[in-house]
């Protein structure tokens, strides 16, 4: 959980181990439109202590479920304009299948379980809490 921009290249470097042959990463960016409305930015509100616990639990789960070397996840809080990176996930593994599967698992679980909420700010000046994930 980070309330300021994070050095992604340092997160990536920490996943580099000699046994790793594949690396999969996912980034969630603030998108310009949602449900037909023009978005100017998103305010991420998080219950930080529980978000950290859940995030660490998810990373432990992927280490048990998939043949990976290392995994990291980062989520921003606060207001982010369109184009900013809100979430970053990186997984290194000996082979690509585990890297892709674990990376996908982490983002899916974050979206299901980690107490973070998006308040969208629209170009119209209105704001709104995103009710739930549509995709």
């Amino acid at each position: 959980m980070a309330d300021a921009p994070v050095d992604i290249s340092a997160l990536r470097r920490a996943l580099m181990v000699p046994e790793a042959g594949g690396f999969c990463s996912f980034e969630g960016w603030v998108r310009e439109t949602n449900e037909g409305q023009t978005v100017s930015g998103i305010d991420y509100n998080a219950f930080v202590p529980l978000a950290l616990t859940e995030g660490q639990a998810i990373v432990q789960e992927v280490k048990q479920r998939f043949a990976i070397c290392r995994a990291t996840a980062m989520h921003r809080t606060g207001y982010l304009p369109v184009g900013e990176t809100a979430v970053w996930i990186g997984v290194s593994a000996a082979h690509r299948d585990a890297a892709f599967s674990a990376c996908r698992y982490i983002i899916d679980e974050i979206k299901q379980r980690v107490p973070i909420w998006k308040k969208e700010h629209y170009a119209s000046g209105e704001v709104g809490w995103v009710p739930c994930h549509t995709l």
């Binding site: 202590p49 989520h75 980690v114 107490p115 809490w129």
Partner: protein
């Protein structure tokens, strides 16, 4: 009556109008406390679509509340 530390997020925070509240309550469980708050503040969200965290860990709705417990009702999450 135990003293409960409440913290509100997302739409609940907007509905209450603040992020924190210290509340004396006779509600024996998290479920009963949510009903009490919903009546007070008119929360739109039904508990069926929510979870509850007690002392920063997910807990069953029927968990009894104790003095000083920190309670957070968790609307459907939308991070990522």
């Amino acid at each position: 009556m135990p003293n409960i530390e409440l913290q509100y997020f997302a739409q609940l925070q907007d509905e209450v109008g603040r992020a924190h509240e210290r509340r004396h309550t006779s509600a024996p469980t998290a479920a009963a406390l949510y009903d009490e708050l919903r009546a007070a503040y008119g929360f739109a969200l039904a508990p069926a679509c929510m979870r509850v965290a007690i002392n920063a860990a997910f807990a069953p709705w029927e968990q009894p509340l104790g003095e000083g417990d920190h309670v957070v009702f968790i609307p459907p999450v939308t991070g990522g």
